[in-house]
Symmetry: C2
Subunit: 347 residues, 2 copies
């Protein structure tokens, strides 16, 4: 089984964006905004939005299941207040639940959290519980910068976030550390803000004892870990100079995906980062949509890069399936529950 651990619903029917625009237009007077129930889309519209995109690529590329969450750039936690984010998150998560119900063999849900700048993260717990307990979601996306590029929250390792981590550990769900769009003109969203956030989160973890406080907490740092593998020596050296544990210790709780869109990058990732801490992902349909003229293939067809490497069967199994089952403790049961695999044995 090939599990893609990082996919967003970037192709949702246009009603979703229209609803969000109406919500934003009514920010000064939310009572005049659209009701949740006013968002209407048919199953066929949802099917069509996926059949031509994510499902097509799953089939073409030979992957089986995508761990699927709302569009990251549209989370935009910096817009409005906690109530704005709550309703928007509920809508987006309910839509992911519909997707997983329509295609139970293809998608497993991960939720957006109703974060809002300056609002303590415990406000996200109810929605996280709802998504895990009612919808069968297996993880959440955690935005380390709900301000959208102004970085006004405490570091991810601060006690500020601990109530959420307690709940995540209790529910046995990991978080993918994933920012949203940037309202700071310095940061292009997918070209700077995303990658910077990955790098920033990793360095915060080097400096902190958060995983001593939460030994079972698991954070997925996407986009191959940002700049970290390229600067693996720098981070090993910084940890050493600071008297912190070696990075290999950190990599029991931190996991990188393979959203790196060229073979030399993937080669480096696998060369320096422990293989047990890497999970296959493509983020399709996502940041880069084009075809690489140098290869004739989609940039984000990351499976091809892995297929090009001389990996053992055991290594391939870990990258494509085994590590994901370890990082998402609820995943195996959910795959069975959704009928994506037949028994509770290894899929």
């Amino acid at each position: 089984m090939i599990i893609d651990c990082h996919g967003h619903y970037t192709t949702a029917p246009k009603q979703l964006e229209a609803w969000r625009k109406a919500q934003i237009a009514a920010l000064s007077n939310p009572a005049s905004g659209p009701a949740k129930s006013s968002l209407q889309m048919s199953d066929d519209e949802i099917r069509e939005s996926l059949e031509k995109a994510q499902l097509k690529f799953q089939r073409e590329r030979g992957t089986d299941v995508t761990i699927f969450s709302p569009r990251a750039s549209a989370m935009a936690h910096h817009i409005g207040d906690a109530q704005t984010s709550l309703v928007w998150s509920q809508i987006c998560n309910e839509l992911i639940h519909r997707v997983c119900s329509l295609y139970p063999e293809n998608f497993i849900g991960v939720c957006q959290l109703p974060q809002s700048p300056g609002v303590p993260p415990e406000n996200c717990i109810a929605e996280l519980e709802r998504c895990v307990n009612e919808f069968g979601f297996v993880g959440c996306n955690l935005n380390p910068d709900p301000s959208g590029g102004h970085w006004t929250s405490p570091p991810l390792t601060a006690k500020y976030w601990y109530p959420l981590y307690e709940k995540m550990c209790e529910l046995e769900v990991p978080a993918m550390v994933h920012v949203s769009s940037s309202c700071n003109e310095n940061f292009h969203a997918t070209g700077a803000h995303y990658i910077n956030a990955d790098t920033t989160a990793f360095m915060q973890c080097i400096q902190s004892d958060v995983f001593k406080d939460f030994p079972t907490l698991k954070l997925i740092i996407p986009h191959g870990g940002g700049a970290v593998p390229f600067h693996w020596g720098r981070y090993r050296g910084l940890a050493q100079d600071m008297g912190r544990p070696p990075l290999t210790t950190l990599m029991n709780n931190i996991f990188f995906d393979t959203c790196v869109y060229h073979l030399p990058g993937i080669e480096l990732l696998l060369k320096v980062v422990p293989l047990d801490s890497i999970m296959f992902a493509s983020e399709m349909v996502g940041a880069v949509k084009g075809i690489d003229p140098e290869t004739g293939n989609y940039y984000d067809d990351t499976k091809r890069y892995l297929d090009a490497l001389p990996l053992t069967a055991e290594q391939r199994h870990k990258l494509f399936e085994g590590n994901a089952l370890k990082v998402y403790p609820r995943l195996k049961k959910q795959l069975v529950r959704q009928g994506a695999v037949k028994t509770a044995g290894t899929p």
Copy 2:
């Protein structure tokens, strides 16, 4: 000749830091602060600070000349106002000039700019001219975020910066894009803020026509270009999706150094980035001071990584000397003027 294009005076005699502390202590009443002339250090103190550090490493590692600038993390443009930064920059630059005068064969100067949050960059022109015309400096360090981690300035590609770029082009000096310390607790300086700034600056350039407006403008993005080489496919794809020119076009004006502290990272850098756009550098004594237990050598002894690669003589010449002479148009004459080389021919 082996030119290290990225070194900071991180080991200055302790009087420098004491002077800065006194300046900061008097911020609320600058008239009560220390006079510039109160900073006193002997030539022997300066010699001692270098002999045991940068000069020792130059000799041990077999490098010849370092392009040398004030300590980057101490620029701290976010502290005080424009006058604070001006006096502090003058002091730091004058000290670099003393270093270059004491060791004319070992150090070539690059200046700190008196930037200050919210103050237009043209306020830096006088100090830049002084350093280039009076001290023989060959470049400057340009901080894309004088706020120290809050990113409140316009992107580097905005017209806001153009007066400085005009002067740089007129003087024929490049800028190294280099942030300073971070006063945002999210960003560790050398582990996150530096690398994020590199990545951010590159993406800003992808989005912009700044090099159409300034065809001879040269920007050095240090630390191996931040996350960019690891995500070279992502950036090629983003540029393509956005209808921007290929990255190779950009690399006529942007140059990466080799401050990447492990062999696999350097290998990747040289594999994906055009060799004409890479310059040898180590940033010693800098971000990472320790010895890598995996190799027994200093992490920042980057020359070893290059020496380990199967490079042709022409490639080595470009990396260690030729590209630097191209990027710093004033360098060749300055090397002769300082007696680091005997004639105006290729050193």
